[in-house]
């Protein structure tokens, strides 16, 4: 499998506050990588860096061999290769569900409207929201909004999808429907980079687990089942133990 995303020596700080230090990571095509770690460990900032929403102090990020650099003209081209789904959905409130989804394909990729609508309709149907296509975001539940946001990202045909704690703002009963959607995506061969606090989901979906703590990668493994049973570093062990009650 070819390398799709490559991060080398990424260093990010806000003022004097070092958020990420010397991060190295490679994601292959079709791979599902799950990033876990305590709150404030830098994992969300990491995803934002990958999408060129943050400026780096050092290091290189490439997607398909092309460098991701914030504030460069080429960044809009690159972002089309990278889909991102936010914790707070961030649908555009003044547009219907369908308009939200086809906006970027029409305006950015200059695609044919009929074709874009047809594909949007198919995808909405797949996530069970076809009947909501003319609704406005505020008429949807959190889980529905998040599924629309996923469809919106998908319609751009990105090479890789980034998920930033997409279930963290949801009521518990809605978490499941969103995770189901993501699981289906993973099984269909999408390349995904997921930040999450849902450990059971991480275990089910991940090809590889990356554990970040205090801005650095502490543990990285493809033995997903083993990691959750017996992590090799004490910091990961301590983190995982916060999810169990004995």
């Amino acid at each position: 499998m070819s390398e799709l995303l490559k991060v080398t020596h990424l260093h990010k700080e806000f003022g004097k506050n070092v958020v990420l230090k010397d991060i190295n990571l490679t994601v292959k095509k079709g791979e599902v990588v799950v990033i876990i770690g305590p709150s404030g460990c830098g994992k969300s900032t990491f995803l934002r860096c990958l999408n060129g929403l943050e400026e780096l102090q050092d290091g290189v990020i490439t997607v398909d061999g092309l460098p991701v650099e914030a504030n460069k003209r080429e960044i809009t081209k690159l972002r089309q290769k990278i889909g991102m789904v936010f914790q707070s959905y961030e649908l555009f409130p003044h547009m219907s569900v369908l308009d939200n989804i086809i906006l970027a394909p029409l305006k950015v990729q200059r695609r044919n409207k009929e074709e874009a609508v047809r594909e949007a309709t198919e995808l909405l149907d797949k996530v069970g929201l076809l009947d909501k296509k003319d609704y406005f975001p505020r008429q949807l539940s959190g889980g529905q909004k998040q599924r629309v946001a996923i469809v919106r990202a998908l319609l751009m045909h990105p090479d890789i999808l980034l998920f930033d704690e997409v279930t963290a703002a949801l009521d518990p009963e809605m978490v499941h429907e969103v995770l189901e959607t993501m699981l289906a995506l993973a099984r269909s061969g999408s390349t995904m980079l997921i930040v999450t606090h849902e450990m059971a989901f991480a275990k089910a979906v991940a090809d590889r687990i990356v554990f970040i703590d205090k801005g650095e990668i502490v543990e990285e493994t493809t033995d997903v089942a083993d990691f959750f049973k017996e992590p090799s570093t004490p910091r990961a062990k301590k983190f995982l133990s916060t999810f169990t009650y004995e």
């Binding site: 089309q80 991102m84 961030e90 970027a104």
Partner: protein, 219 residues
């Protein structure tokens, strides 16, 4: 009150109202354009222009329209810039209003969370596309009550036009009082005609505000 006097004065007041409305809506349209452009400049933090916009806002928000009009109408011709009284009214109202409109649009723009911009960027949209398709429509609809308040404010401000000898409502009233001393009738018509001009705007404003407060997109 003398009925006959009232009736005979009505056409004069009507003409004055039409003149006020003509200058008023042109000036307001002008202020709207200034407002959008100025707000876009401050939003994108365009170098130099941003500073100019800032100075413009401070200058025109901190001086009375009357003084602005006097400057444009009486002072500028002395350095070779001559314009008609009507154009002066439009220009003065537009410049004054623009300073307020920029602020209104700007606070609308600022109220849109930054993550909406990021979410648009993440779809590959450019800065300009993000502004045009995502931020501006939301900001404008948030700004509507403020914009309407500005419109009422500007229509009220037109009452100083008489000082540059435009025959608006105030001019007509003052003129008629001076000539025929039918003070009560003149003042009565003055109030009535201002109500005709401003009450509808005020009512529409109240309705829109209520709608915005209780609803949002999609109702």
């Amino acid at each position: 009150m003398d009925k006959e006097t009232l009736v005979s004065y009505i056409p004069l007041y009507r003409d004055a109202l039409l003149l006020t409305l003509k200058i008023g809506w042109q000036g307001i349209l002008f202020s709207f354009v200034i407002g959008l452009i100025g707000a876009a400049i401050t939003h994108f933090k365009v170098k130099v222009l941003k500073t100019i916009v800032g100075i413009y806002i401070e200058l025109f928000r901190n001086t009375p329209l009357l003084v602005q009009l006097f400057f444009i109408y009486f002072a500028l011709p002395k350095v070779g810039v001559k314009i008609t009284a009507e154009a002066c009214g439009v220009l003065g109202l537009g410049l004054l209003g623009g300073a307020y409109m920029i602020e209104t649009f700007r606070s609308g723009l600022e109220s849109i969370p930054i993550i909406q911009t990021e979410s648009s960027y993440s779809l590959g949209m450019s800065k300009l596309q993000t502004f045009w398709y995502i931020i501006l429509p939301q900001a404008v609809s948030i700004s509507v009550p403020g914009l309407l308040a500005n419109v009422i404010f500007l229509l009220k401000e037109t009452s100083v036009f008489s000082t540059i000898s435009l025959m608006d409502l105030m001019f007509t009233a003052k003129d008629l009082i001076g000539m025929y001393a039918k003070t009560i009738e003149c003042l009565f018509l003055l109030v009535v005609f201002y109500l005709i001009m401003l009450l509808p705007v005020s009512i529409i404003g109240a309705l829109i505000e209520r709608r915005l407060r209780y609803a949002g997109f999609g109702d």
